[in-house]
């Protein structure tokens, strides 16, 4: 039982259906056979009774006239009436007189003239004990206990006088071959039906179980493997399984969204922390740095002409300048004063990236464009687009395409840069915008950090879709509409 309860639905449902089909077939067959048996018995009994009645009527005269031979001839002719079917053939026909002695019988040697049932014994002897010897009882169908025969006993009555009885004995065994023949035929038909029905119901049962099995398999992937779980081939029907599948899909969607949200939050929180940290460090560095550079400048202007010192200070100045540049890159700040972003800026950008694009035989295509200048800082936007375009050209396949998309409407500038190169692996996504993180051998890893910082400062949003063959950076920046 435990084994069955642990069995997969893949087997359990078909097995149960099989059991139901087999049970039904068996029950129907048995019911039909029982009915057939009854019918056959009734048919036989009716036949025996009618033969008994006919014989009883015909035998009245010979018995009344004590014409034994005539009575025997009547029995003989009745005997040959149905030679075709064995069970219809009376095994014994015995005429008893009113003293219950054998008047004549169809088998004189076994049932001799003048004998009493008790002298003969056997089935017939038992019959003698069970019969009600009375003319009032029209016909009796008797089955003496332990007898191999059953009997139809009809009274011979004329003018209200009981002359005797006619007992017809039928073998129970003779009845069986024909019944077994019937059983064999019924079994064959049942078998044929089952041969057709079983595979069909097996397939149906498997189909019924299949969605559940798929659901169970898909469920195993939750929450670790949402992507593949969401791809499971679940039915779209409107039944319970369909509804279940629908809920499952909704759950997977919710879980995915939640996971994405969590990942985003973690990433942006980290970025924010990194931003604050670097901004703080930058400020702390910038203050003394400015003083140091001013001191070096002052010394150079009023310097003592010491070549050694000149050389050393010059070295210091270059190093400090490099620190300042790096810090400045970290600390992206919106300049309060800047000119608006114009359509011509896009042309400039294309010219700027042309050399790189040609070097890798990458085609740069522009979709959309700007009709009017936008009240957004041109320098920053140029930097964003330049960084993204250069990244895209570097990431695109040799001879590939980079698409730049621009659209401005209803106070929102939508930018997109797309390349057809290798997509960004998932594990890199989380740290994509962090400083000093790079996917390439060259590069310091500040490009996207700068882009991110600028977009954040412009209150914009940035998303990346990376699928094989298409990596797209989407940026949305709000601007104040002039009208």
């Amino acid at each position: 039982m435990n084994f069955f309860s642990n069995l997969s639905l893949r087997w359990k449902i078909p097995l149960r259906v099989m059991a139901a089909v087999l049970g039904t077939a068996l029950a129907v067959t048995v019911a039909l056979l029982v009915k057939d048996y009854e019918d056959m018995r009734l048919n036989l009994e009716a036949h025996a009774k009618s033969l008994g009645r006919v014989l009883a009527n015909t035998l009245v005269t010979p018995v009344l006239h004590d014409d034994l031979w005539r009575a025997f001839e009547i029995l003989q002719s009745a005997r040959e009436a149905h030679p075709a079917s064995a069970e219809m053939e009376a095994q014994m026909m015995v005429v008893l007189d009113n003293e219950r002695r054998v008047f004549v019988s169809s088998r004189p040697r076994d049932y001799p003239v003048g004998a009493r049932p008790e002298d003969i014994g056997g089935s017939f002897g038992k019959l003698g004990e069970t019969v009600v010897w009375d003319e009032a009882v029209a016909q009796q169908v008797l089955e003496p206990e332990g007898s191999l025969h059953y009997f139809v006993v009809s009274p011979l009555v004329t003018d209200g006088e009981l002359l005797g009885h006619v007992a017809l004995g039928y073998s129970k065994a003779a009845f069986l071959p024909r019944y077994f023949d019937l059983v064999a035929r019924a079994a064959l038909v049942t078998l044929l039906v089952l041969i057709i029905l079983l595979p069909v119901s097996w397939i149906w049962a498997r189909r019924t179980g299949e969605p559940l099995l798929q659901l169970a398999t898909a469920m195993e992937g939750v929450p670790a493997n949402l992507e593949s779980a969401g791809l499971a081939d679940l039915p779209h029907s409107r039944d319970e399984i369909g509804l279940l599948a629908q809920s499952f899909r909704r759950m997977i969607e919710d879980l995915k969204r939640q996971q994405e949200l969590e990942t985003q939050m973690v990433a942006s929180e980290r970025l924010a922390a990194v931003g604050r940290l670097s901004a703080g460090i930058a400020h702390e560095i910038n203050n003394p740095l400015g003083g140091m550079l001013t001191a070096i400048k002052t010394w150079q202007r009023h310097g003592g002409g010491d070549p050694m010192a000149e050389q050393t200070l010059s070295l210091l100045e270059r190093g400090l300048t490099q620190i300042r540049n790096t810090v400045a890159a970290l600390l992206v700040e919106t300049k309060t004063q800047d000119r608006p972003f114009e359509p011509a800026d896009i042309d400039d950008l294309l010219i700027l990236v042309e050399a790189q694009a040609q070097a890798r035989a990458v085609r740069v295509a522009v979709e959309g464009g700007l009709a009017l200048p936008l009240p957004l800082p041109a320098t920053l936007l140029r930097q964003i687009l330049l960084n993204l375009l250069l990244n895209a050209i570097a990431a695109a396949d040799e001879g590939g395409t980079v698409k730049l998309g621009l659209a401005a409407a209803e106070g929102l500038l939508r930018l997109s840069v797309c390349n057809d190169g290798q997509h960004i692996p998932d594990e890199q996504m989380t740290t994509l915008f962090e400083p000093f993180v790079t996917g390439r051998a060259k590069g310091h890893g500040l490009g996207l950090w700068v882009v991110y910082q600028i977009v954040r400062q412009l209150n914009g949003g940035l998303t990346v879709d990376s699928e094989p063959g298409c990596t797209t950076f989407h940026i949305e920046i709000p601007y104040a509409e002039t009208q």
Binding site: D66, D67, L68, W69, V104, P108, R109, V113, G114
Partner: protein, 296 residues
């Protein structure tokens, strides 16, 4: 139904039609059929003194007699001897093949025509037979208290002889057997004994011998336990008022039967040698037995 489409069998009607046909054609057609049709039919009663259930044989015999007598012949068969005997006595039939027993009883009411000869004699025997499977039965004495089959109460061999034999040995035939019954034919006595319905039976020896030839399976399960002395063979008789010419004609035909090729073939079928005129005293033996039984 029109009279013409009705199956016409009764002689007067055939007579009328023959005459009507002759008139309408204006000529009298020659030929036995027409000639026979114009004469009164001879009616012959048959009893189971021979195997009268051989329908094809009786039909051939009837045709042969018609040819010989130049008269239509009608065989009259009945369920028992008495009916045929009564038909002869009342003159309803012309001739009959009867048993010797009814003949001696009604000797004054009928005339002897001819007697068949069997195995060279106009005599035969009655056989008392028993169930061959019952080896304990060796004689009539062993049959006491058993079931016994007679053929016909008017049969010499099938009734009178066993009655006589019992009477002779001082037994009462009415109580000697536990049960007796009539089969109304000799052949059926053999059947009854062979099937075991009766332990013993009385049968015409001629019929038994003939059956043992054509149905040995019947007789082989019976055993002859006693044979009567030779007794007068069942004779052909005529009604008392038979026209002398008819009687002579029929007698001549019977007596000449063995000399005719077809007649001989028919006799061979009956296993008979032929016919002899016979005389009434041939049946005195039967008459004595009948008298003995009547008195007892």
């Amino acid at each position: 139904m029109s009279p013409l489409s009705h199956p016409l069998v009764s002689p007067p009607r055939r007579d009328f039609l023959a005459r009507a046909a002759g008139l309408s054609l204006g000529v009298v057609l020659p030929g036995t059929a027409w000639a026979n049709a114009s004469k009164r039919a001879i009616r012959i009663g048959l009893t189971p003194v021979f195997l009268d259930d051989q329908v094809s044989f009786t039909a051939r015999w009837r045709r042969w007699l018609e040819e010989q007598l130049d008269r239509p012949v009608i065989f009259v068969q009945r369920g028992n001897y008495r009916e045929v005997v009564d038909l002869v006595r009342s003159g309803k039939i012309d001739f009959a093949w009867l048993c010797g027993f009814p003949y001696v009883r009604h000797r004054r009411e009928m005339r002897l025509v001819a007697v068949p000869e069997w195995r060279g004699q106009p005599r035969y025997q009655s056989y008392l037979i028993a169930d061959a499977r019952n080896i304990g039965i060796r004689s009539l004495a062993d049959l006491r208290g058993t079931v016994f089959a007679y053929s016909d109460p008017d049969s010499n061999s099938g009734f009178l002889y066993p009655q006589y034999a019992l009477t002779q040995s001082g037994k009462n035939p009415a109580t000697y057997f536990s049960r007796t019954f009539f089969t109304w034919a000799h052949r059926k006595v053999v059947e009854a004994v062979s099937l075991g319905i009766a332990s013993g039976g009385a049968v015409d020896g001629y019929v038994w011998e003939m059956l043992s030839e054509i149905h040995p399976e019947l007789t082989s399960v019976t055993r002859i336990i006693e044979k009567s002395p030779p007794l007068g063979y069942p004779p052909f008789v005529a009604r008392l008022d038979i026209p002398e010419t008819d009687l002579q004609r029929f007698r001549t035909v019977l007596l000449g039967m063995a000399d005719d090729a077809q007649g001989a073939a028919l006799l061979q079928r009956l296993r008979l040698d032929g016919f002899v005129p016979g005389s009434p005293d041939l049946y005195d033996g039967i008459a004595r037995m009948a008298e003995k039984v009547r008195r007892s």
